[in-house]
Amino acid sequence: MSTVGGNMAAPITSETDGNIKENSMFLKKTLSAVPPLTLRIVAECPVTKARACDLTLPHSSVSTPVFMPVGTQGTLKGITADQLEGLGCQICLGNTYHLGMRPGPELIEKANGLHGFMNWRRNLLTDSGGFQMVSLVELSEVTEEGVKFKSPYDGKEILLSPEKSISIQNSLGSDIMMQLDDVVSSTVKGPRVEEAMHRSIRWLDRCIAANKHPDKQNLFAIIQGGLDAELRKACLDEMTKRDVPGFAIGGLSGGEEKDDFWRMVTLSTDHLPREKPRYLMGVGYAVDLVVCVALGCDMFDCVFPTRTARFGSALVPWGSLQVKQKQYAKDFQPIDPDCQCPTCKRHSRAYLHALFKSDTAAMHHITIHNIAYQLTLMRSVRQSIVEGRFPEFIRTFMKRMFPSPDQYPGWAVEALASVNVTLE
């Protein structure tokens, strides 16, 4: 697996200064001709819009469909980099807003980027900071320049512009960077949605121009347009004109109705190029993942699995299990008897239930299990696509997840029907 950019090691032997210069320029040209992202479509589902791909990034290759755990502040909530690697994670997220605040881009650059700082050898994706701007910070003001807000740590006024966001992400050195988009909640209607969509396009161009390392860091565009099909289509038309290595579907997974959600997802994948990855942001519930893979998405991220773990909620093929509840005090089975994760191989529900009263390690056990669950789910999804039995997989998955067919979520049934999968 080739590494691009900063890791070239072969010395150039040559006799004259002129020769050395020529050779190094040749090498530079050759290396920069290798894109920092390549997507190889391994299999396409003949029934749905699902694909299984090999995504090659600077630090390692990634098998899609992929779920990316979120390590907001340069750490995955109590899990070491070794443990995360051991679970088979090939790419995870860092957060530009948080890391930009603490410890800041200059320090992380000194530490050899976020990879060096966290000691993570595989891939990293950083978001732009835009979402936190709007969701975390009360008094933020969006102008054409960028997002103005007051730092929660020292009260100073900060402007997060497209240029600033990319500059921070360049310092972080992530393999995939996200453009700064004008984020509007999916429940907002009216002219603000259109304004945000157009501005996101302008900000995409500014981000592309600001990227100092296009040979090492992939900048993804984020399709906006809210729940308005026309706005979304307009955004898709414009953004796909830009030669970015990948596209994210943004502005969804907020508080919107699932009926609207899936329609925007499928509209987006209908108009995104086949040979580039599609990243659906903020989606991580098992049912959502399976359906959206069927609708043509390749990459997903969500804080839910790791966040819910810390509350003692373990994800299982039939839903979730609240380990802290009394009913598990004397339950001596593992969380999932079929799960191969380190937690399930060694500990019972009863022990974890008891441990929650004594030590934080209880949370780590569940976090490990939940990440394993998500990654295993995606691996199984991928395998079924490769083996041409994805629709069957979907049916089995839904049967296991819901006690009876009349409990299947309506939106999921419709969405799957739209890609030719009928559930009972």
Partner: protein, 418 residues
Amino acid sequence: MAGSRMKLELSKVVQGRCRLGQLKEIGRMGQHSLDIPGCLLYTHLGTVPHLTQDTLHTLSSLPTVTQVTLSNIAEHQEVLDEFKGGFKTFAGLHDTVLYCSLHDSAAHRPTGHTTNKTVSVWGSGGRIELTVAKFMALQRMVQPDWYQAMADGETWQTGTSRKRVRKSVDRSLAHLDECLLVHQKSQELDGVSVFGVVEGGDILEERLCSARETAKRPVAGFCLDGFQTGAMDQALRSQLIAAVTEELPEDKPRLLQGVGRPDEVLACVEAGVDLFEGFFPFQATERGCALCFRFDVTPDPESAVSDEERHAAGEMQPNGDLHCDDQTHMTRFEMDLKDKRHQDDFRPLVEGCGCYCCRNHQRAYVHHLLVTNELLAGVLLMMHNTSHYHSFFRAVREALANDKMDLLRRRVLGTLTE
């Protein structure tokens, strides 16, 4: 005899008190051994704080004895009763010797609830009162390899009356006798070792009485209670321990409860203690601190930077109070990683430390994790502190073997100038 299998093999005794050797054939199957002076693996309900088995086993040499406490376990009695397979299996423990103590030396223990027939422990849901019957019922469910008898050790508060101290001695002997009776009748405890607990507060006569009487009982070894950091100064502690160990049989181990600070450990080893509880690394971790005290005594010209020079270079933290009785305060043996000076320090916590944290991460990263309240901070610090502390014990044994205890003490205290 409760646990006649445990064998203490001494290879060296200094001044008739300070011992180097090995505790052999420990565990029900007699398959483990523990070097002494040594320390136990401190856990909360069988889990080393913050760590899962993966992170725990990054440590190259774990103590062979894992300590659990009834203060963590008592509230789960019903569960263990139903489980029936013993605590080790319940907790999914690796192959280890399980030692069950009464109290958690790193946890706050309220006083005033001990009676003639009962002691109390505090679980997550509040106070649980234990009679000997209940205590022994718990031991039968836990099925440890070794446990301490129930004891009344509430004598560490300053100004404990002589009368109260005497009570603690008498009660503890009575509890011990009752425990041994029940033990002999319990099949589940066949092959399990019992330690008698020596009490006596800070009163020499009481200590001697307790030691002599406890020594008469058929126990496998002795816990020394009531000597916790904060209960008395080290001078008195050393004096009393030396007097106590004089009354105890040479061929049985002595476990000191509640003392973990490196300088106190050294002094107590010299007074005749063999085993210590391993809670000190946990306390440092909870403070956001990394143990960094030196314990190298083999001459190494390359690293001959004197501690004075290190002070000047700002490498050493301002000393925590050497005589600080509050176990929660930072000691001189650690560095506070929340301190801004570590913000852009890309060195490992301790140069040359082989632990996972020092091999993979830098001070700047751990600082960041602490400042942002990230859970990984505790994980990394616990790995480092545990490794550092256990390496210290290895150094103690080596120093004893090579007659370098004095050098070691000065190195640990930071007063060695070469």
